[in-house]
């Protein structure tokens, strides 16, 4: 049995949670959109700008040295967090979307040819669909889609049937942002490898909830955003296998990514800098290091136990509301409950819950193909983090009932 979290103590670490919204205590259930930041992250950001601010890697003065060390320390922490074989396989981007576009425009451009195929799933966020459509259109390749069941589970038999040597890349999310399904990525990766395809895993929704071991899973590419892992916005991570990253052409040109430049020709820098042109988001990368420290200091089993309790309780309470249907009932799910209510537009629910001080997400969650699959205009999504409480779920359900009365 995992140690129970001291929720009051945890909540004290997140300043934003302690406020009134529309004259009611804030309940923040939009953690799949972005997580809140512990004080340690905010303090690190502030301290960096107050004490260490300098451009990194090239300066020889003390501040540049301090900033560079702190920036590179986050890379080390990430290598350990993901169990990557080396730090130079950790590439900083501006977010998950930027990481996917980087792979599409480098690996995709170099390896996808006319008549090739790229497989995505019906559960994907637009950011794991559109970059592939762009490269497929450019190259004359085809996009194939893994279908999803009514429960929100990927059809693995259909996936197997789609696999063939023309498939160059499989791009799927680890966890669905819209309905919370945890996808069987180990199986997807191993099946894709059998036909020689590489796999990109979009970890935006999984990093805050599941342990990631890129080596154990034999990942080719893994991308995610810091801001969904209690870190700042504007920082993302791309992990890649060394031989693949080395074989990929550079992405954006500029400073930092070069070794030598002359008008006769330019040689490129080594990993990871080859893919990090220009001055990066130094302050936020350093502050992200504080987020990694924070999250790793709490026993993972306790975090998981708290999230499981939140999911089970919310599911049970919501199911009791007449006319409410939970979208996404996969056996493997993270703490996200997406739901629709007969005859009520999700937007109306979102607007009124906000008046009660409750933040949820409504709409298509940037997953329109999934909404089309279920013939929905959108859903209401309550997504939890370990700092949420069962009492908050009680008040959420009570306010949801009041909201439905008002709309009824």
């Amino acid at each position: 049995m995992a140690d129970k979290l001291n929720i009051d103590q945890i909540r004290a670490d997140f300043p934003v949670l302690h406020q009134q919204v529309n004259k009611a205590p804030l309940i923040y259930f939009d953690n799949a959109a972005t997580t809140q930041k512990p004080k340690a992250v905010i303090d690190t950001l502030l301290a960096y700008y107050e004490q260490d601010n300098a451009n990194i890697h090239r300066g020889i003065h003390t501040l540049a040295e301090r900033a560079t060390t702190a920036y590179e320390l986050t890379r080390k922490k990430l290598a350990s967090f993901l169990n990557a074989p080396s730090t130079d396989q950790i590439i900083f981007t501006s977010g998950t979307t930027a990481g996917i576009n980087l792979v599409a425009q480098t690996f995709g451009r170099a390896n996808v040819e006319k008549g090739d195929q790229i497989i995505v799933s019906n559960l994907e966020h637009h950011s794991n669909i559109v970059p592939w459509q762009m490269i497929a259109e450019e190259k004359g390749a085809e996009i194939k889609v893994i279908p999803v069941s009514n429960e929100g589970v990927l059809d693995m038999e259909a996936f197997k049937a789609l696999l063939n040597p023309k498939v160059k890349l499989v791009a799927v999310n680890h966890v669905s942002n819209a309905i919370g399904t945890i996808n069987p990525i180990a199986e997807i990766i191993s099946l894709a490898h059998e036909v020689g395809a590489k796999v990109l895993i979009d970890g935006a929704q999984s990093v805050a909830h599941l342990a990631i071991d890129v080596q154990a899973l034999d990942m080719d590419f893994f991308v995610f955003s810091a801001h969904k892992l209690f870190g700042p916005t504007g920082v993302g991570v791309l992990y890649g296998k060394r031989e693949i990253l080395e074989s990929m052409p550079p992405y954006q040109g500029g400073g930092e990514m070069i070794k030598e430049v002359s008008f006769a020709g330019t040689t490129y820098n080594e990993l990871p800098y080859k893919f990090e042109a220009g001055t990066p988001n130094i302050a936020d990368v350093i502050a992200f290091g504080a987020a990694l420290d924070y999250i790793q200091a709490i026993p993972a089993e306790s975090l998981a136990a708290q999230e499981e309790a939140l999911l089970a309780y919310a599911t049970q309470k919501l199911q009791a509301i007449p006319g409410l249907r939970i979208m996404g009932t996969a056996p493997e799910k993270i703490a996200v409950v997406s739901f629709v209510i007969d005859g009520v537009h999700p937007q109306d629910i979102g607007v009124l819950l906000d008046k009660f001080g409750i933040a949820i997400r409504t709409g298509h969650h940037c997953a329109q193909p999934l909404m089309q699959r279920y013939e929905l205009v959108g859903t209401c999504r309550a997504s939890f983090a370990f700092y949420n409480t069962l009492e908050e779920i009680d008040r959420f359900v009570l306010c949801l009932e009041k909201t439905l009365q008002m709309l009824g």
């Binding site: 937007q347 109306d348 008046k355 409504t362 709409g363 298509h364 009041k402």
Partner: protein
């Protein structure tokens, strides 16, 4: 001669002034949405749709004599409530009056949030579109 745009805005401000808490205000808004005159299906075309990120709005305009008459609808009831008020204020007015309108009532009744959410509900585009129609009819 019907009421002027500002006379109607004052009426709305007075109506909403009766409510002390937000829930009463929103119940009234929802009620306005429910009572919105139904829009003919013939006008609910792809051409008349204003796409918000979360809900759609349909808007149709025609000129009757010197006045512009609007019909509109939405999938979301709170948006419909807002539409109902916009139609009450701007429909059956002259193009010149519509173009000159300053819709101050929205802020006064505490509903500006619904026009600030530019991407989610299409209301901002709807107001712009109403003025485009007025311009076209003037």
């Amino acid at each position: 001669m019907g009421k002027s745009i500002n006379e109607i805005q004052e009426e709305l401000i007075e109506e909403f002034g009766l409510f002390e808490d937000w829930a009463d205000k929103y119940e009234y808004l929802i009620d306005l949405g429910k009572k919105l005159a139904p829009m003919s299906d013939a006008f609910k075309t792809e051409e008349n749709v204003i796409k918000g990120c979360q809900s759609r709005v349909w808007l149709h305009a025609e000129k009757q004599g010197d006045l512009v008459v609007f019909q509109a609808d939405s999938e979301a009831i709170i948006v419909k409530g807002m539409i109902s008020m916009l139609i009450r204020v701007l429909s059956n007015q002259t193009p010149a009056a519509i173009l000159a309108a300053d819709l101050y009532f929205i802020e006064q009744i505490g509903m500006s949030q619904h026009l600030a959410q530019t991407r989610s509900n299409g209301l901002v585009s709807m107001v712009k579109q109403m003025q485009h129609y007025a311009l076209a009819f003037s």
